[in-house]
């Protein structure tokens, strides 16, 4: 329904931006068309984002697993990243985005990939493996409440709930 539209408060804007991603002949029926991943990633809002692949993946409902997005997926994404989404929803999707192997928990591998995304993948900018181990150990010590070696959604949301900046930084403005 218009829930997501209301969430972003900019339905027409979103529609315009979405149909720009489509080739000319498909623009009439933008609501039913799917935009391939490569096109989505050309959005200036996503182009430089280190999590662009994950965002695409999480919000895509494509059945062929090509991470293409329909207009509704696009609106879903915008509504999650909008101002009016609740912190719960934001943290839920943030968790999904950071969960690189889609297994429902952030384990050491996920965290390692997350840190790599955060610090960039360049040669000079990598952490050494001992540093990485230490860092992940620190993260787990702080946020892994039940000490099972991984962070689950509840623990993640607990950490996020204590960071008031999260809601303002987990935001994409169209």
């Amino acid at each position: 329904m218009t829930a997501a539209q209301r969430g972003t408060g900019q339905g027409t804007d979103a529609y315009k931006r979405f149909s720009e991603l489509l080739p000319k002949e498909e623009r009439e029926n933008a609501c039913s068309a799917r935009v391939p991943k490569s096109q989505i990633l050309t959005l200036p809002e996503l182009r430089a984002n280190p999590f662009q692949q994950r965002i695409c993946h999480v919000f895509s409902t494509s059945e062929t697993e090509d991470d293409s997005m329909s207009f509704e997926d696009f609106l879903d994404m915008l509504s999650v990243f909008s101002d009016s989404a609740t912190s719960d929803i934001k943290s839920y999707y943030a968790f999904r985005i950071f969960d690189f192997d889609n297994d429902g928990i952030l384990d050491r591998k996920d965290l390692e990939q997350l840190v790599n995304c955060l610090t960039g993948q360049g040669e000079g900018s990598r952490l050494s493996s001992t540093e990485m181990d230490q860092l992940i150990q620190n993260i787990l010590e702080e946020s892994d409440i039940d000490k099972d070696g991984s962070i689950n959604l509840a623990e993640f949301q607990h950490v996020v709930s204590r960071s008031p900046d999260f809601a303002s930084s987990f935001k994409i403005v169209l």
Binding site: P44, G104, N138, G149, V159, S169
Partner: protein, 860 residues
């Protein structure tokens, strides 16, 4: 506490354990949570469906999903169990107290009472989990149509249908679902509703009204959305510099809006009526007045002195407009509105940012898990942020590894002496500059009263004071930050805060000494119209401050960049100094507030100034600056800025205005209050007039009994004090409760560990005996528990499986841990339910004993 403990303890039907089937049948009715959230029953659809189908469950498995988002942790892992469990190496028995104390806070956010009262709304949001379509185990999607799923959906729809329209929309919006799913749910709910209320036509029309009204609101908000002029600017700034710099601009925008609002109010209620009664202005305009605000402007609506004290009426015997009352009420109501706005935004920020941060918050985890600023979309900025993060992480790691510095006594004394000295120096600087400003202004006034031979000379003399004040305001902060570097603070945060406090002291004391000068010296001088003089002074101060702000961004940022990029390469690009810039804004706003009474159009001037500052700062920022290297705690900084705007600035202004209105004698020959003993006397007079009308007796009564009566204020303040005290007590009680719950979590953890140890021992014994006894026994046990067969063939798997399910139930309900550990008993084991229960009981007794030792003080 113990009540729930026992209750849940005896309710093994939280779990999917096959071993306790008999118990489950018997006791499911007793489960308190199965009533509160009946539709939770099958939230873990995979478990429910996998095991439930094979065993043909008579009862749906009730689960109270009270923890935040418990379903992901239990749904997703179960969908790909093999891939999932490989990485999980833990659950070796660990030493005591693995549960760190901060682990409880999510129980605070979601206390179990919450689940009972509003659980229905909360729980289904989390429960319905959108699964990525590519999950390996989604091959079983056809099986989702089985009973539990259907029932879950029915329950969900039922609970949605029973809500009001608004609630329902909100609840659906809150679900982490795709839009298609949401639409499906909504349609089903609507169908359900129409089915139910087919005979009640009225409700339907109401609904459509609501819908069309909502649509109308949508279109409106969309149009407004397109009209927002700052949208693009803010987006670009956020994209390149991140949220911290953005917060400065948001603050600036907020102040701009505040000034637009106050300009409109003043213009509408004070200035426009005055235009109707305006006298001709016969002073000459040379252009220099723009800078000094004197001369021509003296006879314009810009200043207090020009306003009439007459009652304006255009039509004979028609409605009239009392300028005195308009003046005092407009200003009064404006300040009340400002007060409320500031109070509420401050309270909101406080509750959002400080209450949650009561515990010392170590930076690392939060930094990494929620640090990424999705606003930033510029490629360079992304690279830069990544680099900054990397250095921060590295610094953080070395800091953690470093031993805490232990200073010797001598060093410590030296440190304290340095800090003290720095404080003395900075306070002395502030006092000295105050004294300078005071004597300069008195000198200035004397000169001014004597009169100048030359008009130009006179106008330049006027500008000396504001220029000196602005110079002090601009240069001394640099001295303070240099002082801060000398002091060598241990953390950069300390440095920032101390510098800000010193700057605030300086600025506020300068404004304070100026107010003292205006209210005590100027107001008692023999000038014709002292209010206008004060208004002019403030106008000049505001204008010169604005010019200095522009110069500051020219010299401080533009020239600094030229120097940094050409002369001294190692300086690099300048950073945008958020703290200093925000303090400038607060200072400017303080001047505006003070000036409102003396120069009603000052907000309009400040509005234009802020608009120009916004664009100049934006251009300067984009051209000259680089994003700040430190991660600012944005939310916290914003809170403290609003607080500073409120506490010294706004409250100080209120007291100045109060003194002016109640205590000072207005000028005899100008302004709306001429001839009155004080400005407030206008209200008194009005009340006296009202007393003669019977219609308005109530206004008089309110005035005498409420507004001007001490008793009323005494009662009000007593009530406020009592309420405050009650709230303080409630907070204390909550804190105690938190501690109790924390202890409980720790105990639960101990239970779990103890049981697992037992379990492992049992299993080991079992395995060795089964190795002796051959495979027959195992087959029998596996036929007994068909679904758990892999657990026995892959050593260690079972433990992790229990671990997993325990985790989930632990998050669903803090008190259910014990049961999970008792009911998730070894599948291949003889250990009967009763034995498990006995074990758990023993563990609990042990834990309780420790608890009373450790925290006896908190026991009720």
């Amino acid at each position: 506490m113990s009540y729930h403990y026992n209750e849940t303890f005896e309710n093994p039907d939280y779990h999917f354990s096959e071993t306790l089937e008999i118990d489950r049948r018997g006791s499911s009715q007793r489960n308190p949570f199965s009533y509160q959230t009946p539709h939770d029953s099958s939230q873990s659809d995979y478990y429910g469906e996998r095991r439930g189908r094979e065993q043909n469950y008579p009862v749906a498995i009730p689960m109270a999903s009270l923890g935040p988002g418990s379903d992901c942790s239990q749904d997703l892992p179960s969908t790909s169990p093999y891939g999932n469990f490989t990485g999980n190496l833990s659950f070796e028995p660990e030493p005591e107290l693995t549960y760190t104390p901060h682990s409880t806070s999510h129980m605070l956010d979601y206390p179990y009472t919450h689940g009972i009262s509003s659980g229905s709304e909360d729980s289904f949001i989390r429960r319905r989990n959108r699964r990525p379509p590519d999950d390996i185990f989604m091959t079983s999607s056809s099986m989702l149509e089985t009973d539990p799923m259907c029932r879950e959906e029915e329950d969900l729809i039922g609970s949605l249908a029973s809500m009001s329209t608004n609630e329902r929309i909100k609840a659906i919006q809150k679900m982490p679902e795709t839009m298609r799913k949401k639409r499906e749910i909504r349609n089903k709910v609507l169908k359900e509703i129409t089915k139910k209320s087919r005979h009640r036509g009225a409700q339907c029309t109401q609904g459509t009204w609501g819908v069309s009204f909502g649509r109308f609101g949508n279109t409106l908000s969309e149009y407004f959305h397109q009209l927002r002029p700052w949208h693009k600017t803010l987006k670009i700034i956020g994209a390149e510099f991140g949220t911290s710099v953005l917060s400065y601009f948001v603050f600036l925008k907020w102040l701009l809006n505040l000034n637009i609002f106050s300009f409109l109010i003043n213009f509408g209620f004070i200035t426009i009526p005055q235009f109707l009664a305006a006298e001709p202005n016969n002073l000459s305009f040379t252009g220099l007045e723009l800078l000094t605000g004197a001369g021509y402007f003296q006879q314009t609506v810009l200043y207090y002195g020009f306003y009439t004290n007459a009652t304006i009426s255009k039509v004979e015997n028609g409605p009239s407009y009392n300028m005195q009352l308009a003046y005092i009420f407009t200003v009064g109501i404006y300040f009340v509105i400002c007060f409320l706005i500031l109070l509420f935004s401050m309270a909101r920020f406080f509750s959002r940012n400080f209450v949650k941060l009561t515990k010392a918050f170590s930076v690392n985890a939060s930094k990494l898990l929620c640090t990424w600023d999705f606003n930033i979309t510029n490629e360079k900025a992304v690279k830069l942020q990544q680099k900054n993060l990397l250095t921060q992480i590295k610094e953080g790691l070395t800091e953690v590894n470093k031993e805490v510095l232990n200073f010797s006594v001598k060093e410590r004394v030296g440190r304290i002496a340095t800090h003290l000295l720095a404080w003395v120096v900075s306070l002395a600087t502030a006092v000295a500059s105050c004294a300078g400003v005071y004597f300069l202004s008195i000198n200035n006034l004397e000169l001014f009263m004597k009169g100048y031979s030359n008009d130009l000379q006179r106008q330049t003399a006027m500008l000396v004071l504001p220029v000196i004040v602005s110079l002090l305001n601009t240069l001394i902060p640099f001295f303070f930050s240099w002082l801060g570097y000398l002091e060598k603070f241990q953390t950069p945060g300390q440095h920032i805060y101390v510098t800000i406090i010193r700057n605030i002291i300086l600025k506020i004391s300068i404004v304070g000494i100026l107010c003292y000068y205006w209210l005590n010296i100027v107001a008692t001088s023999e000038s014709q119209c002292w209010e206008t003089l004060v208004g002019q002074d403030i106008y000049r101060l505001a204008l010169v401050d604005f010019i200095f702000c522009l110069l500051g961004s020219f010299f401080g940022e533009f020239l600094r960049r030229i120097i940094g990029t050409t002369v001294c390469m190692n300086l690099g690009l300048p950073e945008f100094d958020i703290g200093r810039n925000v303090l400038d804004l607060i200072y400017a706003q303080t001047l505006t507030w003070i000036g409102i009474l003396f120069s009603p159009l000052l907000p309009g001037i400040q509005m234009i100034a802020f608009l120009i500052v916004l664009f100049v700062k934006k251009v300067s920022l984009m051209r000259n600056c680089q994003p700040p290297r430190k991660v600012w705690r944005t939310a916290q900084m914003t809170t403290s800025f609003i607080f500073l705007l409120f506490c010294p600035s706004f409250l100080g202004v209120l007291s100045v205005i109060g003194v002016t209105v109640w205590r000072l004698k207005p000028s005899e020959e100008c302004g709306p209050f001429r001839g009155l003993p004080s400005m407030y006397a206008a209200v008194d007079q009005w009340i006296q007039i009202l007393e003669s009308y019977t219609v308005s007796k109530w206004v008089v009564w309110i005035y005498h009994n409420l507004i001007s009566s001490e008793l009323f204020f005494f009662i009000i303040s007593t009530v406020v004090l009592i309420v405050t005290y009650l709230y303080l007590e409630i907070i204390q009680a909550r804190k105690t409760m938190t501690k109790l719950l924390q202890n409980q979590i720790i105990n639960a953890g101990k239970d779990k560990k103890f049981l697992l140890q037992k379990l492992r021992r049992e299993q080991r014994a079992k395995r060795s005996s089964s190795a002796l006894g051959g495979r027959g026994q195992q087959r029998s046990s596996s036929s007994y528990h068909p679904s758990m067969q892999p657990a026995q063939e892959v050593p260690g798997y079972s433990e992790r499986a229990f671990d997993r399910s325990q985790n989930t139930s632990y998050h669903e309900h803090p008190f259910s841990v014990e049961i999970s550990s008792s009911s998730d008993f070894p599948p291949g084991g003889e250990p009967s339910p009763s034995r498990a229960v006995a074990l758990a009981l023993r563990a609990r007794a042990a834990a309780l004993g420790e608890d009373s030792d450790g925290s006896g003080g908190f026991q009720p």
